[in-house]
């Protein structure tokens, strides 16, 4: 039946192949739109901020005069914040993932935890801010301090880390499991000596991606009361602090135009830190993919 109009089929084929070509161009264009906006954004930020970027800018804190203002206190604040976030979220996140992947039996409760975690991943960050305010600031009585901000952010990215770690654990070949158990190793020995090391790159990548989301978060920090002008670095977990996005938000909210450029410079630093984190993640990911 097809054979009957051989010529027709051939002719149609021309059209079909052409259509494929055209759509391919369209798909490519669509992909470029995202990339173009990325470039535009970088271009604007760079042109606005580059003039204010200097060693002084890197090493000084907030100031009432644009020429004297710098990112130092915010940057270190962000880094300290991230350290707290990383410690808590990685320990709790990886432990949860191990529990879910290796220990939990398939029952309603486990399923509930799983669903709960993926739901948490979709809760708006500002709601986490409210949670942090109620619990860490008030009920646990930490006040508007580094630890309150850190724990709030840690909970915020916890689900991301759990999910990434679960995936990393799951991608460790069952072979390795079997090999270890087959030697008479206990479950925990197997996990600690074989599975975790093998899953580590995946876990690290997930963590870095989660942290790079956290480092740019502003809304929850506003709610749990990060300071806007602070001139000394936090010296304890219970010290006041500020962070890069808070500084940037504050600068951009000012009337004089120069502050926009100060903010631009801050954005450059923030993006630089972000890109650094992302490329580490990509490096780890690529290296990891080659290995297995």
């Amino acid at each position: 039946m097809l054979g009957q109009n051989e010529e027709g089929i051939k002719k149609r084929m021309e059209g079909r192949v052409l259509k494929n070509k055209i759509m391919m161009g369209l798909f490519f264009l669509a992909t470029s739109v995202g990339l173009i906006f990325l470039v535009l954004l970088f271009y604007r930020v760079l042109t606005q901020g580059i003039g204010y970027l200097s060693w002084d800018y890197l090493t000084s804190g907030p100031a009432p005069y644009p020429e004297e203002a710098g990112i130092w206190i915010g940057m270190i604040g962000s880094i300290m914040l991230m350290a707290i976030v990383a410690i808590f979220s990685v320990i709790i996140g990886v432990a949860s993932a191990i529990y879910l992947e290796e220990y939990a039996s398939q029952n309603k409760f486990t399923e509930f935890i799983r669903v709960n975690i993926s739901n948490l991943a979709g809760v708006p960050s500002i709601v986490f801010g409210l949670l942090g305010l109620t619990f860490f600031v008030y009920i646990f009585n930490f006040g508007y301090t580094l630890i309150a901000g850190g724990l709030t952010m840690a909970l915020l990215i916890l689900p991301v880390i759990v999910v990434a770690s679960q995936e990393a654990l799951r991608s460790v070949p069952i072979d390795l499991h079997q090999a270890s158990l087959g030697m008479g190793a206990s479950k925990w020995q197997t996990i600690a000596r074989v599975i975790l090391p093998a899953a580590l790159p995946g876990i690290l990548t997930g963590t870095i991606i989660a942290l790079s989301r956290a480092i740019g978060e502003t809304a929850p920090l506003i709610i749990v009361g990060a300071a806007t002008a602070i001139y000394s670095l936090p010296d304890s977990l219970l010290a006041k602090y500020t962070a890069m996005p808070i500084q940037i938000y504050n600068w951009t909210a000012r009337p004089q135009e120069e502050w926009q450029f100060v903010a631009g410079a801050g954005i450059i630093i923030l993006l630089a830190v972000l890109l650094l984190m992302n490329s580490i993640a990509v490096l780890i990911r690529n290296k990891f993919q080659q290995r297995l």
Binding site: I174, D175, A179, G182, M183, A185
Partner: protein, 283 residues
């Protein structure tokens, strides 16, 4: 040796009936001395799917026992049951008993970990840990608390020697095992299994992912190993079973159809299904 062949004769007589292995059971009891493991009335379910039916089988000591059968007939399931590895699948249920040196391995106070140091395993595709050759082989001893460097050194050397790969690798003990060829990896995995000096070694299609040369190396090694270990080897390659095993079991659809001296089974199958299979009528 004589006893074994006597026992198998009986088995094969049984093999003519539809429930060969059950009848055989009582008679085999006499031959216990020579058996390292004894499987009695073993049934196994994955959830509600039964994968093994009433298996009765005695594994002779210091012999190579081959298990053959078409894909999905339960070969892997069966040997994984022997070291309770099958329990990694949570929905598995079993009935019947398996005795290792007269102790029922399903008994509550019989430790899985202990069983697995006694009954080692080598898998279908080589699965070294992503660590150095040394650390791979030392893994088992370390897990069991052996920490002294000298002792470990000695165990590693001895195991690699026994696995016939010491000469190839003695200068590369620190190299990552992932960098080795498939055949080398598989022998490192065998060395790793030997390092805890098990009593029985289970091998699930150990050569199926290897090239012919590596395959023949592993086959030679198996011949060597049976001097010290009792070996159970699953293979989908009938020629291989014929080459290296002393006894062969033929599984089909979860049943043990026939279990006999290898030569007898191939030249003189007692069951029509065995014959069909080894003459290539299916599979």
């Amino acid at each position: 040796m004589t006893k074994i062949s006597e026992e198998t004769q009986e088995t094969r007589t049984g093999g003519l009936t539809s429930k060969p292995v059950v009848e055989r059971k009582e008679k085999q009891k006499k031959a216990e001395v020579n058996n390292v493991m004894q499987v009695d009335d073993l049934n196994l379910w994955y959830g509600s799917n039964q994968a093994l039916y009433e298996i009765n089988m005695d594994i002779p000591e210091k012999r190579v026992t081959a298990i053959i059968g078409p894909s999905g007939c339960g070969k892997s399931t069966f040997i994984k049951t022997l070291n309770r590895m099958v329990e990694m699948v949570p929905i598995v249920k079993t009935s019947g008993s398996i005795k290792y040196r007269d102790q029922n391995i399903f008994n509550g106070d019989f430790k899985q970990e202990y069983l697995r140091t006694k009954v080692g395993m080598v898998f279908q595709s080589p699965n070294p840990f992503p660590k150095s050759v040394y650390d791979n082989v030392a893994y088992g001893p370390r897990v069991h608390g052996i920490k002294k460097k000298e002792v470990l050194d000695e165990i590693v050397e001895k195991s690699l020697k026994d696995a016939a790969i010491w000469d190839e690798l003695k200068d590369r003990l620190d190299a990552n095992a992932y960098g080795l060829s498939g055949g080398q990896q598989q022998r490192v995995c065998i060395a790793r299994a030997l390092a805890v000096e098990p009593d029985v070694i289970l091998m699930d299609e150990p050569t199926s992912s290897l090239d012919p040369i590596s395959t023949s190396k592993v086959e030679e090694l198996v011949q060597e190993l049976k001097k010290k270990y009792s070996i159970i080897i699953v293979t989908h390659n009938m020629q291989q079973a014929a080459r290296i095993s002393d006894k062969t079991a033929f599984f089909l659809n979860g049943e043990l159809v026939e279990f006999a001296e290898t030569d007898d089974l191939f030249q003189n199958p007692q069951d029509k299904r065995t014959e069909d299979y080894i003459t290539g009528r299916f599979g």
